[in-house]
Symmetry: C2
Subunit: 222 residues, 2 copies
């Protein structure tokens, strides 16, 4: 792996539209940092399984948090190869024809084997996951206990083999469609927070901090 | 398959948290109808691949639209088994501890083999895809040509074997955490449209219709 780009193997190379592919480290990392949920694919009994998981980037690896008893985590812990996909939908691209309409998106695919973090590495990893999901929340929430850390599983997978694909900007219509009398352009889409809903058992007088009231999912969404 | 529920095989049964699993047809269909992007997993050379694709539900099947030359479409057309996952992130669930914090979500996993639709079935399928992505757009956009329909691929996969998982509502804290003095609750998350951006080559005087100005992704998001 070079200092600046992720490895491009035959498997991870973008085949269909090489102009949309990017192995630049910054692009891969920015997309990963903007997402909250990844889709983890693996093979069980020769068949594909795809499951959503929360994740966070920790430098050159992804951290995945799962319930220790789950089939997914057991299979991944056992060294199964995984394909991890993160997709951020940025907009609906309306060409003059429905046929040439498209979506603006940013996506990353990471290939690798997961390993389960040892107990002594889990606290830091869980803190990174917490910070990714709700920046600042770790400092105000009830601290993690040793028992909690002992009873959980955090998987890590290297981002060595990763591919980014990005589509941005205008629809692409053939010349002969440009005079067709219909609006064309992009409807931007973004994951937005609504008004926080207090837990029904929240004690009276506890107001949400700025961690909650100023929450925005993903740096790019702020 | 019964009239009302989707099949629960060993593979699709929800193992970890059966109380969150649902095979009810209505739940599966509603989730599928609210999403725009699925993650399609398949096995190539024994290894997992996961790729995002646009999709729409057409009764008891999913329609996937892909570029004919892509490796994904070629592999799926050849009869590979697929696992198709749709995940809608509905909220960040902040418990008193980061450890017990979670996400509200709705997800569906569909297992099946894809088949490629014959040319005579593709127009209707492409219309269904268009209507799912941008309701009403098909009627105002430039109609599809026979050449376009001939040159595309639409894959269909039955929703026979499908599982839904849903988490809603409050965080779940242990009794001893309830007095910890921090706000707890849910920050709702929803994919929202921004202000439409006209194409740079849009002819002067063309305004967006209500198809564009009133667009909301997914019925549940409206």
């Amino acid at each position: 792996m070079s200092d600046h780009d992720y490895d491009s193997t035959d498997r991870s190379r973008v085949r269909r539209r090489p102009e949309r592919g990017s192995h630049e480290r910054a692009v891969v990392e920015e997309i990963l940092d903007d997402g909250l949920v990844c889709h983890v694919g693996f093979v069980a009994d020769g068949r594909p399984i795809v499951i959503p998981m929360g994740y966070a980037r920790d430098g050159e690896r992804l951290l995945l948090h799962g319930a220790p008893a789950s089939r997914l985590v057991k299979t991944l812990e056992a060294g199964a190869e995984a394909c991890i996909s993160v997709t951020l939908l940025d907009g609906l691209v309306l060409a003059r024809s429905a046929f040439n309409s498209s979506m603006n998106y940013r996506s990353v695919v990471v290939f690798g084997k997961c390993r389960s973090l040892a107990a002594e590495d889990r606290r830091k990893a869980l803190e990174i996951l917490t910070e990714h999901f709700a920046p600042g929340r770790g400092a105000e929430a009830r601290p993690m206990s040793e028992e909690e850390i002992a009873g959980t599983v955090v998987l890590a997978v290297s981002i060595d083999e990763a591919t980014a694909k990005v589509r941005t900007g205008d629809p692409v219509d053939p010349e002969e469609d440009l005079s067709f009398p219909v609006w064309a352009g992009v409807i931007p889409l973004r994951l937005r927070p609504g008004t926080p809903i207090p837990a029904s058992n929240l004690a009276a007088g506890i107001e949400p901090s700025r961690v909650v009231t100023e929450y925005r999912p993903g740096p790019a969404a702020s």
